[in-house]
Structures are given as structure tokens and as C-alpha cells.
């Protein structure tokens, strides 16, 4: 695995490097450490952080490369990810909220939307990945998301929960309520598209020798994903990137961005 680990010298970036290092030790034969310097006074801190991480990884990772870029963090990370091919990009999130986010934008949201590689956006202070929550959005593209989650779980020994959220309401009295009200066990046995998808995802996890289970929640999609992540105290949320083009980009809600912005724990966005 070829991984890009990014830092801008901030505390959240330090957390990202720590969590990234855990994955790198298990799986990477090449790691690129990218330091982004947004203002001259940060240079010393960024360089020190890169040195520390490089020293910590040098025994376990055969090839470590260190790069420095100057400019806005999100833009420089995206440039690097576009110019070279990486299997995983790891970056921290400053967690800007309210007016600051409105004014400055969110680095995490930009990476989630535009990064060509899977990107792990680290929030909070997680030291280990033991429980992974996967939200595939009941889409075919979600199978790749499950596979990525399975690979991370296989490396870290984590268990995986695949979440499906039913936010639908019956429009007419003829609507069949069995699909809307059923549990994950019933859904897995059913021929409903959701059941078929969950079965497929669990098969993917089984193939990777990962312990997986399916869970169904009822309510608003974003609320339920974030609630499940909190209730189950998961260490990582894995979701697929919002890939929409043309008119759809304008019409569809970017659920991935909302998960990234609303979550208080690391989120892996798979493209």
C-alpha cells in the first residue's frame, strides 16, 4: 500500500499522523509524508512533526519520502494526490464550525469531495481502530466501500458493522410496510434490494476473513449514522464518496460531506 500522510503542523494533524502510522506499520511498503506550510511561522513545527513521524515509522516501513509544500492545506494535498497515485490519503480535520466554516470552508469537506484516492479524515483522539462502522448507501459503488473497510479491518483486527438506514415513509396505504419496519435479520433473509445488498457486503467481509454484522436503523440518514457511531463508540466510519456529475451534482445532497462535517471521529471516504 502506498500512503500519503499529511500535516500542517496543527494538533489535529498530529492525531492524523498517529492513526495513519498505525495503518502504515501494518500495511504500507511506501509512505509519503507531506507537510503543508500555510504561514512561515508554522514551518518549524511542520518540519519537526515530519521528522518525528518519519523516525517512528522507519523501522516498519521500507520507503519513506518527505515532501514540503507551501500554500493552502486542502489545495496542496489535492495537488499532491492528483499528481501521484496513492492507495490512501490521511489528513486531520480542524473541525471549524459555524461562521469560521462558512468563511474559510472546510479542508475535510474539500478533501472528501475532490480527493481522487480514498481519504481518511481524522477527528478526535483515537489511538486504535477496533470497531468500524460502514455506510454503503445501498449502492453498487458501496461494495468497494465495504471492501476497503474490510481491508482496514483485516489489518487492524477490527470488527465491522454495516449500517443501513431506512428514512422512507409510506406514501400511500398500499405501500408494503414489511421492508420499512423490518430488522436487519429479517432484511437479510428477504429479497428486498436492501437485503440483497447487505448480503453481498457481508460476503465481501467474510471473504476478507473479517467479522461483520448488519444493522438497520430507522430515521433521517445523517442523524442515524452519526447516532450509531456515537452509540456504538466506533473508532472509524467508512463511507463512499459523493460521486455525482452534471445536473445530479446540483440536485443531490452530499451525504458524505455531512457525515464528515458532523462526525466527531475519523471518517474514511472511499472513491
Amino acid at each position: 500500500m502506498n500512503m500519503l500522510m499529511c500535516t500542517d503542523g496543527s494538533r489535529c494533524a498530529a492525531e492524523a499522523l498517529r492513526l495513519g502510522a498505525q495503518i502504515a506499520r501494518e500495511a504500507c511498503d511506501q509512505v509519503t509524508l507531506l507537510g503543508v506550510i500555510e504561514s512561515p511561522e508554522e514551518e518549524h513545527r511542520v518540519v519537526r512533526m515530519l521528522e518525528r513521524t518519519s523516525n517512528a515509522l522507519c523501522e516498519d516501513v521500507p520507503h519513506i519520502e518527505t515532501l514540503i509544500r507551501r500554500g493552502q492545506a486542502a489545495e496542496e494535498i489535492l495537488k499532491e494526490a492528483e499528481e501521484n497515485t496513492y492507495d490512501l490519503v490521511v489528513a486531520g480535520s480542524r473541525g471549524r464550525r459555524g461562521f469560521a466554516r462558512f468563511l474559510l470552508g472546510s479542508t475535510a469537506a474539500r478533501l472528501a469531495r475532490y480527493c481522487p484516492s480514498p481519504v481518511l479524515i481524522v477527528k478526535g483522539t483515537r489511538r486504535r481502530i477496533e470497531k468500524i462502522l460502514v455506510y454503503t448507501g445501498n449502492a453498487e459503488a458501496g461494495e468497494r466501500t465495504a471492501e476497503m473497510a474490510g481491508r482496514i479491518a483485516a489489518l487492524t483486527g477490527a470488527s465491522v458493522t454495516v449500517l443501513h438506514v431506512m428514512s422512507q415513509l409510506p406514501l400511500c396505504p398500499e405501500a408494503d410496510m414489511t421492508d420499512l419496519e423490518c430488522s436487519s435479520e429479517v432484511l437479510l433473509l428477504s429479497d428486498a434490494p436492501e437485503g440483497q445488498h447487505l448480503r453481498k457486503v457481508l460476503q465481501i467481509l467474510e471473504r476478507l476473513s473479517v467479522q461483520g454484522e448488519a444493522k438497520v436503523r430507522h430515521g433521517l440518514v445523517i442523524d442515524e449514522i452519526l447516532a450509531e457511531a456515537r452509540d456504538g463508540d466506533y473508532d472509524l466510519i467508512v463511507t463512499r464518496a459523493h460521486v455525482a456529475s452534471g445536473l445530479q451534482r446540483f440536485m443531490l445532497t452530499d451525504t458524505t460531506e455531512q457525515i464528515v462535517l458532523g462526525s466527531d471521529r475519523p471518517v474514511l471516504v472511499v472513491r
Binding site: N138, S167, Q168, L169, P170, L171, C172, P173, E174, A175, D176, M177, D179, L180, E181, G219, L220, V221, D223, L247, Q248, F250, M251, L252, T253, T255
Partner: protein
């Protein structure tokens, strides 16, 4: 589609970029042209033929609608004393209750809104009373979807299946109209509408007089005044029913919205769709019904339904605006415009500032009310008793 285009791209790889681009564009358009022409050929010829029955129904409903407004206008002066003494509609609270309750009785909101404007035109009620009566009619109208749900529940359907969309519709309508009333009141009180006084115009009035004059004179001369008003109310009710039947069966399954139960649309997009579809169909229940075929299994995502119903609440006033224009009364037009503006303002504030909390609140209330027979009974009693209490205030 890409099979031809992609093969051309591969053979063209060795040539210069301009040539590659030109050939790709040529193939793309040739292909597109073939697809479109092929698609058109496959269209069922019958679907291209005009449905004369529906066109006839539509024209008849419009003709009856115009006639009904004129008859109500003629009869309103005669029923004024009855309304004033029997119904005691003399303040904004009891006109709200009156509009609300009347919509329950006739199972439709639009005729009640039309009556309120006719009463305003005759000087029986003031602008504020007309405003609240129209709001009452919208609350009553949203109850109708719920009432149909109740009937289904009584016939043995699952409670949640029958009532979800009706409860959602009622709660959203109430959440927009109640704050909207305050804004409407402030707008009317500040005479902000004085500068925007839209009227049907003298030309429209003279055309209506020319076409409908003989019929109206015949009814006025041969029936008591109150009967003229009652015939007018009856005709407006019939005309709305005919219009519902005359509406084309919109097929949105081939549009971007075919996966309405699968994906989550932006709230503003669904708000605009609800607004446009309801403006075209002039009926919230019809525009909600249009959602059913969009979802193969009869579901809609809550995230999509809420902004759609919000949009529908703005354009549901289109038919009432038509009534005001037909009455050629600037005060009536001002009332409808103020109401549309205030619901738009409240909707935009909700969409822009408190969309997520509003969404959660609406859904929590829906599941709380629909969660048990006891809660449902309390809710049903509340929405029946509230307009009665308002009427005696």
C-alpha cells in the same frame, strides 16, 4: 451509448488532439441524434394524441369556476346578514376557525378560500378575517389527506401506512401557516401591499360580463339572493373536482426524480419541485399523489417529502389568486399575495436557518402522534375542537 464513441477515441489516440476532439464530438452528436430519433419513433403514437375528454373537462371546469365566482359575488351581499348573525364571523380568530371547519365539512380547502374572498369583496369580512379564513382553509385541506388515512386505518390498513403522509402534511402546513399568519398580519397592517395592487382589469371584467352576463342575470332574477350564493359555492366545488379529473397524468418516472425513494435530494431542489408541481396541478393532494409512481414501492424518503410539502404550501394559493383576479378586487388580491409572500418567507427562513431542527421536529411529532391509538385520538380531538373553540372566541 459509449461503445462507438470509445472505439473512435482509441483509434484516434495516435492522431493530433484537435482531430481526436473533432471526431469524438461528431460521433457523439451522430449517436445522440440516432438515440433521440429512435426514441421518438418508439413513443406510443396514442400518447401523442390529445385527450379531448380531458381537454373538454378542463375547459368546462374553468368555465364553471369563473361562473361560480361571479354568482358568489352577486349573492354575497344578500347572505351578509345571515353570515353576520348566524356565524358571527367578526374577528380573525373565528374566521380562522370558520375556514378550518368549513374545509372539513366539504373536504376541500380551495372552495372555502374562494368563499372568503367573495365575502371580503362584499364587505362582509375584512382583510384580516379573509386572511385567517384562507389559512384555516389550508389547515382544513391538509386534514383531508389525513382523513383519507383515517378511513384506510378503519378499513384495517396499518396505522403508520395510512397516516404518515397525512400527518406530515398537516404538521408542515401548520408549522408554516401559523408563523406565516403573524408576518401576513404585519404586512397588511403596514400597508406594504398598497403599491402592489394587481387587478384583473377592465378588459377581463367586460369579457366576463359579455360571456356570463345572461346566465348570471337569469340566476339572479329567478332565485333568491342566498340561493345565488349557494349555487356559486356549489359550482366552485364542482369546478375544482372537475379540474382534478382533467389534470394530465404527469409521468415523472423518466426524469431525474425517478429514484425519489432511493436517493436524497437537496432540500431546495425538492422545495422547488413541490412548488412547481403544485402550481401546475393547483392541488396539494394531486401533487402528493404524483410522488407515488415515482417510487416503485410506494415510499418516499422523509428528507425528500418535507421540503416538497413546504414548496406545495407556497403555490397552493395559485387558484385563490385567480379568484381574487376574477373578482377584480385589489384588497382580495393583496390578501392572497401577502399570504403567498409570508409562507414563502417562513419557508425560506426554515430552509436557510433551521432546516434540520424543523425536519427533526416534524418527524418526531409525526411518529409521536402516529405511535399509539391514544395519541392519535388526542390529536384528532384537538384538531376537531380547536376550530370550534376559535369560532366561539
Amino acid at each position: 451509448m459509449p461503445s462507438t464513441a470509445v472505439s473512435i477515441l482509441f483509434t484516434a489516440n495516435a492522431r493530433d488532439k484537435a482531430e481526436q476532439h473533432r471526431r469524438f464530438i461528431t460521433v457523439f452528436y451522430l449517436r445522440l441524434d440516432r438515440e433521440v430519433r429512435g426514441g421518438l419513433r418508439e413513443l406510443d403514437a396514442a400518447s401523442m394524441r390529445p385527450n379531448w375528454k380531458k381537454i373538454g373537462l378542463c375547459l368546462l371546469s374553468i368555465a364553471l369556476f369563473v361562473l361560480s365566482i361571479q354568482l358568489m359575488r352577486e349573492g354575497a351581499n344578500v347572505v351578509a346578514p345571515y353570515v353576520e348573525s348566524w356565524l358571527d364571523v367578526d374577528n380573525a380568530a373565528n374566521s380562522l376557525g370558520f375556514g378550518w371547519l368549513s374545509s372539513y365539512v366539504i373536504l376541500s380547502g380551495s372552495p372555502v378560500a374562494a368563499v372568503s374572498l367573495a365575502l371580503l369583496d362584499a364587505g362582509i369580512i375584512g382583510q384580516f378575517e379573509a386572511l385567517t379564513m384562507i389559512s384555516g382553509s389550508r389547515l382544513g385541506a391538509s386534514f383531508i389527506v389525513l382523513f383519507i388515512g383515517f378511513v384506510y386505518v378503519l378499513r384495517g390498513h396499518d396505522r403508520l401506512t395510512g397516516l404518515s403522509i397525512g400527518l406530515l402534511s398537516f404538521i408542515i402546513t401548520a408549522s408554516l401557516h401559523l408563523p406565516g399568519l403573524g408576518i401576513s398580519y404585519l404586512m397588511l397592517a403596514s400597508n406594504i401591499t398598497d403599491s402592489v395592487r394587481l387587478q384583473g382589469g377592465a378588459a377581463l371584467t367586460s369579457v366576463i360580463d359579455l360571456v356570463y352576463g345572461p346566465v348570471i342575470r337569469f340566476v339572479v332574477l329567478n332565485t333568491p339572493g342566498w340561493m345565488t350564493f349557494v349555487i356559486g359555492v356549489g359550482l366552485v366545488f364542482i369546478s375544482f373536482n372537475l379540474l382534478d379529473r382533467a389534470l394530465p397524468e404527469l409521468n415523472l418516472e423518466t426524469t431525474q426524480f425517478r429514484g425519489v425513494s432511493r436517493v436524497i435530494y437537496r432540500p431546495t431542489v425538492m422545495f422547488l419541485v413541490g412548488l412547481i408541481v403544485t402550481a401546475v396541478t393547483m392541488s396539494v393532494s394531486v401533487s402528493l399523489g404524483i410522488l407515488v409512481p415515482l417510487s416503485a414501492r410506494g415510499y418516499i424518503r422523509s428528507e425528500n417529502a418535507i421540503p416538497y410539502i413546504m414548496g406545495a404550501n407556497v403555490s397552493t394559493f395559485i387558484d385563490t389568486l385567480l379568484v381574487a383576479l376574477l373578482l377584480n378586487n385589489p384588497l382580495a388580491t393583496a390578501v392572497v399575495l401577502v399570504q403567498m409572500a409570508s409562507i414563502t418567507i417562513v419557508s425560506l427562513l426554515v430552509l436557510g436557518l433551521v432546516y434540520r431542527p424543523h425536519e427533526r421536529l416534524v418527524l418526531r411529532l409525526t411518529s409521536l402522534i402516529g405511535g399509539s391509538n391514544r395519541n392519535l385520538l388526542i390529536f384528532a380531538a384537538t384538531i376537531l375542537v380547536t376550530p370550534l373553540i376559535l369560532m366561539i372566541l
